[in-house]
C-alpha cells in the first residue's frame, strides 16, 4: 500500500508474508473456524516475537518501531493479514497498546505493555454500543469518579477478541465528558457474553458492566478528557482496518484474474471477454485509489495531522465500499464455485463484510463527512 518503504519495512513485509503463508495459510484459517478463539495463543506468541505487537509499545516496554512511524509499520502487517485473511487480535491489541502508551500512566504501561508486546497477554477496546452505535455522542455507558473510586455501568458490543482479553479499555461518559478506563477482564460486575461473527476466525463479545468498581488509577487519561484519545484511537483502528481491506481487495482481484485466465468458455479464457475486462479495469483502479487514500491516512495518523479525521472517513467510505464491491464482483466472475465452501473467496467476502461494518459503515462515515463538507467554502452561488 505504501509506495515508499524503508529497507527494514520491506524486510518486515516479507517476513510477515512468509510467516502467514507458512503458519496460518488458508487451510489453517478453515480449521480455525471450528476453534472457540479463532486463533492459537502459541502462534500469537510467535507473531509477537516477529514484531506484530511492537509498533505502539515503547522500546522500554518491549516494543519499538522500525521506521519511527508506528502506524506506517503496523499497516504493513495489517495489509498482509488481509491478503490471507489471517487470524489473531492484531487490531484490538495494537489499539489498546497505543492507548496505554500514549494516554496511560507509567504504571499502567508497566503493567500492561510488556505482556501485550510479548504476545502473552491480550487486550481489546470496548468501544461501540449495541444497536450499531459507533458514535461516542450516542454512548450510554457511564464512568463515574467519586473520590478514589470509579464506577462503570453499561453495555459494550462488537468487542473483538473479548473472550481472550486480559484488559478491556472501556469508553464511556463521565460527569465531565468522555472518559476511558482500563478494566481487568476478571473484575466483579464485568460479564462477557461471547459471540461469533461471519468471519472465519474473528470472534466478538458483548461486555456487560453492572456495578463495576475500580480504583481511580484505572482511568486512562483524566476523567472527562478522553475526547482526543478516542478520536485518535478511532482513526488508528480505521487505518489498520482499511489497510487490511486493501490486502483483501488486492489479493481477491489478483486471484480472480488468475482464475479467469485459466478458465475457458467458448474457446477463450473468460478474462478475455470485454465485459469482464472493463470491470476488472475499474476494480484495479479502485484498489489503486484505496492504496492512495490508505497511505495518505497513515501519514496523517502518524503525524497527528489536522486532516487525519477527515481522511479516516474518506478512507472508510472508499475502501469499505470498494473492497466489498470487488470481492462481490469477483464472486460473480468466479461463477458457481464462488458461492461454495470449497472455494476460498467466501473467506474474503466474510472478512470484507465484517470490516465494512466495524467502526462505522461507509454510510455512517459519509454522514460524518457532511459536517466537514459544510465547513468548506461553497463555490459560487447556487440559485
Amino acid at each position: 500500500m505504501q509506495l515508499e518503504l524503508t529497507e527494514e519495512q520491506e524486510a518486515l513485509r516479507d517476513t510477515v508474508r512468509k510467516f502467514i503463508e507458512t503458519e496460518v495459510p488458508l487451510t489453517t484459517v478453515r480449521d480455525l473456524h471450528g476453534e472457540p478463539d479463532g486463533f492459537s495463543k502459541d502462534w500469537w506468541r510467535e507473531a509477537a516475537n516477529l514484531g506484530w505487537t511492537s509498533p505502539f509499545v515503547p522500546e522500554s516496554h518491549g516494543g519499538g518501531t522500525l521506521s519511527g512511524r508506528a502506524t506506517s509499520d503496523a499497516v504493513i502487517i495489517a495489509e498482509e493479514m488481509g491478503r490471507l485473511v489471517a487470524p489473531g487480535p492484531f487490531l484490538p491489541v495494537n489499539v489498546v497498546a497505543a492507548a496505554i502508551a500514549r494516554f496511560g500512566t507509567e504504571s499502567q504501561a508497566e503493567a500492561v505493555l510488556p505482556g501485550l508486546a510479548a504476545g502473552e497477554a491480550f487486550a481489546s477496546w470496548a468501544f461501540a454500543e449495541p444497536g450499531d452505535r459507533w458514535s461516542p455522542d450516542a454512548f450510554e455507558t457511564t464512568i463515574s469518579v467519586s473520590g478514589d473510586k470509579v464506577n462503570v455501568a453499561g453495555e459494550k458490543a462488537y468487542v473483538e477478541a473479548a473472550g481472550v482479553a486480559d484488559h478491556l479499555l472501556v469508553t464511556g461518559r463521565g460527569e465531565a465528558g468522555l472518559t476511558q478506563v482500563l478494566i481487568p477482564a476478571r473484575t466483579p460486575g464485568l460479564t462477557i457474553v461471547p459471540g461469533r461473527s461471519i468471519d472465519m476466525t474473528r470472534r466478538y463479545g458483548r461486555v456487560v458492566l453492572d456495578g463495576v468498581e475500580l480504583p481511580a488509577t484505572a482511568l486512562v487519561g483524566a476523567a472527562g478528557a478522553a475526547q482526543p484519545a478516542v478520536e485518535y484511537l478511532l482513526r488508528l483502528a480505521l487505518t489498520l482496518q482499511c489497510a487490511e481491506m486493501v490486502g483483501v481487495a488486492e489479493r481477491t482481484l489478483q486471484t480472480t484474474i488468475e482464475y479467469g485466465r485459466d478458465r475457458f468458455a467458448f474457446g477463450r479464457p473468460i478474462v478475455s471477454f470485454q465485459a469482464l475486462k472493463h470491470r476488472v479495469a475499474d476494480m484495479a483502479l479502485w484498489v489503486e485509489g484505496a492504496k492512495a487514500v490508505g497511505e495518505e491516512l497513515v501519514r496523517a495518523v502518524d503525524a497527528d495531522a489536522d486532516d487525519a479525521g477527515m481522511l479516516s472517513s474518506v478512507a472508510k467510505v472508499h475502501i469499505g465500499r470498494r473492497c466489498l464491491d470487488i470481492v462481490d464482483d469477483c464472486v460473480q466472475i468466479t461463477g458457481g464455485v464462488g458461492v461454495t465452501w470449497e472455494h476460498d473467496i467466501h473467506m474474503y467476502n466474510r472478512r470484507a463484510a465484517v470490516d465494512r461494518a466495524m467502526f462505522g459503515s461507509p454510510e455512517a462515515h459519509r454522514r460524518l463527512l457532511l459536517t466537514h463538507i459544510e465547513r468548506q467554502t461553497p463555490r459560487g452561488a447556487v440559485r
Binding site: P36, A128, G131, D132, R133, W134, A157, Y158, V193, P194, G195, R196, S197, I198, D199, Y204, R206, R263, F264, A265, F266, G267, R268, P269, I270, S272, F273, A275, L276, D328, V331, Q332, G335, G336, V337, G338, V339, T340, W341, E342, H343, I345, H346, N349, R350, A353, V354, R356, A357, M358, S361, P362, E363, A364, R366, R367
Partner: protein, 409 residues
C-alpha cells in the same frame, strides 16, 4: 389424441374430489414425497399428459395444469423432489429416448419410484454448457464414462442421471456431444457429493465423479453426436419449469421463482434504521429496494402477458431472470448495509445463518445459477436486440483444437 377424451372441466371436478379425499392439506402432518407421488400415480393422476403405454394417463397438458392448479387451490400437499425428474427429464425422454428406455424408465419416474436428474454443468465449465470435457468412449457394445459433473440439482437423492459427455474430440464442439443415462448408486466408480455452499450449509446441488464407468450402448438417448440437441430439449423444459408452464408446472414449491416481493424486507430494514436514528443515511437505498421489487414484479407480469399476446416471444425469459436476480442481489447488499455490525456479529458460540451477513455470502447464487447475468445479457443483446454475436472461436474447429487454442489465447 382422440377427440373423445374426458373434458378438462369434467376432469377438474373428478380431480377436485380425488384431491380432497386422498391428499392431505399443508396444515396436516407432512407426508413423504414418495408416498405423495405414489398416491397420485396410483390414483390415476400421474403423468397425465403421458401416453398410457409409458404409465401415463393419456390426457393433455391442459389436464395436467388443471390438476396442479386445483391441488394448490385446495391447499393440498404436493411432492417437492420431482421437479427435475418428472418436470424436465421425463418429457425429454418421451421426446428423445428409445422405445426401450421409455418403457423401462417412464413408469418408474412418473410413479416417483425412481428419480432421474440431469448431469450437464462441469466443475471447470462455467457459462459454456456445450464446452463439456467429460469423456464418453466407445468400447465394443458399451461406453466408458470418465469425468466430473457439478451443480446437479437433487443428485444426492437421485437414482439416475442423464449425462452430457463428449464422445468425439475430432469434430466441432456441438456435434461431438452425446447424452447417456448413468446409474448414480454405484459405489465403486461413481461418487456423488452434495455441495457445501459458502454459508457452510449443504446445498441441493451436487458434484459427481465418474471413474471409468461402463454403460451399455443402449443407454444412449438419441444417437451418438445428438447430445447437444437432446440437451436443448431438456433446457426447453427447464425454461418452462421456471416460467411455470407445460410439463414443468408441478404446483406449489416446484417452480424456481426469481421475482420476489421485497416490500416487507424494505419495511423491516426501514424500521431498524428508524429505531437506530440512521434512516436518513439509508432512505434512498431502501426506497430503491422497494421500487426494484415493484418494477421487477410488474415487468415480469408484463412479459408473461406479452408472451400470451405474442409481443414478447423468444428469450424474454432471460429478462425476467436477470431483473429478478440482480434486484435480489441489491436487496442483500442493502440489508447488509442497513443492519450494520448486527448483520455480521451475534451472541453465542454457535454458527448462525440467520443474519444478513450470511445471506450476503449467497447473494450471488441467483445471479450465477441458471445462467449468469453475463450470459443473460449476451442473450438479450444478441437474440432480443439482434446485436452482432461475439466472435466465435469454438464453432468450426475440432474441439481438441479449440481446447489447445484457448490455452494459448
Amino acid at each position: 389424441m382422440s377427440a373423445d377424451i374426458e373434458s378438462v372441466e369434467a376432469f377438474t371436478e373428478r380431480a377436485r374430489d380425488w384431491l380432497a379425499t386422498n391428499l392431505p392439506s399443508w396444515d396436516d402432518e407432512l407426508l413423504d414425497d414418495v408416498v405423495l407421488q405414489n398416491r397420485i400415480f396410483d390414483g390415476g393422476f400421474g403423468g397425465l399428459a403421458f401416453p398410457p403405454e409409458y404409465g401415463g394417463a393419456g390426457l393433455t397438458l391442459a389436464h395436467h395444469k388443471a390438476f396442479y392448479e386445483t391441488a394448490d387451490e385446495l391447499d393440498r400437499q404436493l411432492p417437492g423432489k420431482y421437479w427435475v425428474s418428472i418436470g424436465m427429464v421425463a418429457p425429454m425422454l418421451l421426446e428423445r429416448a428409445s422405445e426401450e428406455i421409455k418403457q423401462e424408465f417412464l413408469p418408474q419416474i412418473l410413479r416417483g419410484d425412481i428419480v432421474v436428474i440431469q448431469l450437464l454443468s462441469e466443475p471447470r465449465g462455467g457459462s459454456d454448457l456445450a464446452g463439456v470435457m467429460t469423456r464418453l468412449t466407445r468400447d465394443g457394445d458399451q461406453y466408458i464414462l470418465d469425468g466430473a459433473k457439478m451443480w446437479s440439482t437433487n443428485a444426492y437423492l437421485a437414482d439416475y442421471g442423464v449425462c452430457l459427455a463428449r464422445s468425439d474430440w475430432d469434430v466441432p464442439k456441438h456435434p461431438g456431444l452425446s447424452m447417456i443415462i448413468v446409474p448414480l448408486d454405484r459405489n465403486d466408480d461413481v461418487t456423488v457429493r452434495r455441495t457445501r455452499m459458502a454459508d457452510g450449509q449443504m446445498g441441493d446441488v451436487c458434484e459427481e465423479f465418474f471413474d471409468g464407468v461402463a454403460l451399455p450402448a443402449t443407454n444412449l438417448i438419441g444417437a451418438e453426436g445428438d447430445g447437444w440437441s437432446v440437451a436443448q430439449t431438456l433446457m426447453a423444459h427447464e425454461r418452462n419449469q421456471t416460467a411455470g408452464v407445460g410439463f414443468g408446472y408441478l404446483g406449489s414449491g416446484n417452480t424456481t421463482v426469481m421475482v420476489v416481493d421485497r416490500s416487507a424486507l424494505a419495511a423491516s430494514l426501514a424500521a431498524t434504521a428508524r429505531a437506530r436514528d440512521v434512516l436518513d443515511d439509508h432512505s434512498q437505498q431502501l426506497a430503491d429496494v422497494f421500487v426494484d421489487s415493484i418494477v421487477t414484479k410488474l415487468t415480469s407480469a408484463r412479459i408473461m402477458r406479452g408472451q400470451m399476446l405474442g409481443t414478447h416471444e423468444g428469450p424474454w425469459g432471460s429478462a425476467g431472470k436477470l431483473l429478478g436476480s440482480e434486484a435480489g442481489h441489491r436487496a442483500a447488499l442493502a440489508s447488509l448495509a442497513t443492519t450494520g455490525a448486527d448483520a455480521v456479529v451475534w451472541d453465542g458460540d454457535e454458527i448462525s445463518v440467520e443474519n444478513a451477513g450470511t445471506a450476503w455470502l449467497l447473494a450471488r447464487s441467483s445471479t450465477i445459477g441458471g445462467g449468469t447475468s453475463e450470459i443473460q445479457r449476451n442473450i438479450i443483446s444478441e437474440r432480443l436486440l439482434s446485436l452482432p454475436r461475439e466472435p466465435s472461436f469454438d464453432r468450426e474447429l475440432p474441439y481438441s483444437e479449440v481446447v489447445r487454442n484457448a490455452s494459448k489465447f
